[in-house]
């Protein structure tokens, strides 16, 4: 298993968040999530400008095995979506933490970091699932 990027926050639903310098938050799915799903064949992206509640439906990732909802881990407004995924969903498989980002949100309230996982806490979660 590869090292988890240390500068990200994680969720129990296997998503990651990066707090950008301009105050926005970039969101994607983790390496573990893409490996469990297998080769992605379709990504459904939200409209820019959409207001999301924490836990709201943000995107759908679909592989040959399964279609999974991606929930918004925070409340915010969609500022940008990764348009490249529409034609090449497999970017997520190759580079989940980089070019495979899914959505950038403008948080609409202060981010509750206690509701999210540190890299160590997420690693513990993965280890527990692996047992």
């Amino acid at each position: 298993m590869t090292e988890l990027p240390g500068d990200l926050l994680y969720t129990e639903d296997h998503e990651w968040l990066r707090r950008e310098d301009d105050g926005s938050v970039t969101i994607g799915i983790t390496d573990h999530a893409q490996a469990a799903l297998g080769d992605l064949v379709y990504v459904e992206l939200p409209e820019v400008g959409l207001e999301l509640d924490s836990g709201g439906d943000m995107a759908v990732v679909e592989s040959v095995k399964a279609a999974s909802d991606v929930f918004s881990p925070i409340a915010g407004i969609v500022e940008a979506v990764n348009e490249d995924l529409a034609d090449d969903p497999e970017i997520i498989n190759g580079d989940p933490y980089g070019n495979g980002w899914i959505v950038r949100l403008r948080p609409s309230e202060k981010i509750d970091e206690d509701a999210l996982l540190s890299p160590n806490a997420y690693q513990d979660l993965l280890d527990a699932e692996d047992a």
Binding site: A36, Y42, E62, D130
Partner: protein, 487 residues
């Protein structure tokens, strides 16, 4: 790839069975006649017979191979069901003929309704849904109609456990409901605390399969029913796994308000290939007024039993018609014959042997080293093996094993479902398999893992089938399925 039938086509070649109709087409208005000939292959009768016989021999079927496809209950379809359903009186009956001409058929349908009520513990049964998915649709529509009739208009949430069949949330969504997903506890039962937190004044109902798709019977079902009912919601039973409990436990007694039964699973009508299926629905007392029509009724008339349809104006709150007539009549007849053949005692026995076979196979696979997803639980009629260790350590995934099994002449078990178990195979042997078949299957599974440990790769399997490993990723990304005839 072998020749397509279109490629065998030669101009002017004809089959006697397809000779031009003797009907005078002068009666067809000019505007409705086609201008050009249809693009159908022109082949001889013998070519057609050989072509489709060859295709059928490339197929896996219950008649030719062990078919342990979890969640699908691929049991043997007795020949007697076929031959009796095809009796001329049934096969020649016109659905628009007068009721007096179809008393025999209607009597069978009435008795089928009664038998399904008895085996599920429900108060009413409608046979009209054409497949499991339509049965689900009917069930959720009835739940909605119930709340609406009470003026309880805010209830638009359907709770669905994360282990559910994908059809459950799809049905709820199609009916315009909001789906709330419920987590499963580590022992496979529903997380009661999460359920308590999920129910409320918006709860329309919950959709459950019990035994669940995890192959275990939810021991908290009575408490689940109470929590949902106390919150004002109704309970929907997905009958996919009814085979495990037939004649032993009844959904009506567990507290369910509505159930759909896959007659093509539990009651052994032909299954697969897209149908025809049957998703008969059963309801408790709350939902009786909302059942889909037609429903067969029996009354006394001149000292004899008379069967007819319950008319639309007699069931004004019905969710309506789901098909032109009454479901797939031939499928319903096969299920009727099957139920009459096995009888009350046989109903119990089929569940006992289905669970015995599953538990035997589970124990044997565990003993030869496979990891069970729920090792502490007894299997219902199916169980889950997880290959997550094999995937990591010897690069042998669930898909590899499934494909390698084809080379051993077994249909693959269900793969990668339910979604919450990684690298899983969902295995359902059904009651109609012998111990020898199960033992041979264990030997094949063992051989595959042994060979993989010895360094053999199964990434290209199957090796012996007419079609090799398909590129399912490419197939999903490039949805180009149309055949264009040459020229």
């Amino acid at each position: 790839m072998k020749t397509l039938i279109f490629e065998k086509s030669r101009n002017g070649r004809r089959a006697f069975a397809q000779a031009p109709s003797s009907v005078d087409d002068a009666a067809i208005p000019e505007a409705l006649r086609r201008k050009d000939t249809p693009r159908l292959p022109e082949v001889s009768e013998l070519q057609v017979v050989r072509h489709y016989t060859r295709l059928s021999r490339q197929n896996f079927s219950i008649d030719t191979q062990f078919y342990p496809l979890g969640s699908c209950t691929m049991k043997y379809n007795p020949r007697a069901c076929n031959s009796l359903a095809l009796l001329p009186g049934f096969a020649g009956r016109h659905p628009l003929g007068p009721v007096s001409h179809g008393q025999g058929f209607l009597a069978c349908m009435y008795e089928l309704q009664e038998m399904l009520k008895a085996v599920t513990g429900m108060q009413g049964v409608s046979l009209t849904p054409m497949a499991g998915a339509q049965g689900e649709l009917a069930g959720v529509l009835m739940i909605q109609a119930y709340h609406k009739a009470r003026g309880d208009l805010e209830r638009n949430e359907i709770i669905v456990p994360d282990a559910a069949h994908g059809t459950n949330p799809a049905t709820a969504t199609m009916c315009g409901c909001v789906v709330r997903e419920l987590p499963t506890g580590s022992d496979g039962d529903i997380d009661i605390a999460a359920l308590k937190a999920a129910v409320g004044p918006k709860t329309a109902g919950i959709m459950l399969t019990n035994p669940s798709t995890l192959g275990v019977f939810d021991r908290g079902i009575v408490e689940v029913a109470k929590i949902v009912h106390d919150a004002g919601g109704l309970l929907y039973y997905d009958g996919a796994n009814l085979n495990a409990i037939c004649g032993k436990v009844r959904p009506g007694d567990m507290g369910f308000d509505v159930i759909h039964m896959n007659l093509h699973k539990t009651f052994s009508t032909p299954h697969g290939g897209g149908g025809p299926g049957s998703g008969a629905v059963g309801v408790g007392s709350r939902l009786l007024p909302f059942m889909p029509i037609p429903i067969v009724r029996a009354t006394e008339r001149d000292g004899a039993t008379w069967y007819d349809w319950i008319a639309e104006d007699e069931l004004p709150q019905s969710i309506g018609r789901l098909s032109g007539f009454m479901g797939n009549a031939g499928v319903l007849l096969r299920a009727y014959v099957y139920m009459r053949m096995v009888g009350r005692d046989g109903m119990r026995r089929l569940a006992e042997y289905a669970t015995l076979n599953a538990n035997y196979l589970q124990a044997r696979l565990r003993d030869v080293g496979f990891q069970l997803a729920f090792p502490k639980r007894r299997a219902s009629h199916e169980f889950i093996v997880t290959l997550k260790h094999e995937a990591r350590e010897i690069n042998l995934t669930a898909m590899d094993v499934a494909k390698a099994l084809l080379d051993h002449n077994y249909h693959a078990p269900t793969t990668y479902f339910p979604l919450l178990v990684p690298e899983c195979l969902l295995i359902e042997p059904t009651e109609t398999e012998s111990k020898e078949t199960l033992d041979n299957f264990v030997a094949a599974m063992t051989a595959i893992v042994t060979e993989a440990k010895g360094g053999k790769s199964f990434k290209e399997a199957p090796y012996t089938m007419p079609v090799r490993r398909l590129d399912d990723v490419k197939a999903a990304r490039q949805l180009d399925l149309a055949f264009r005839p040459p020229g």
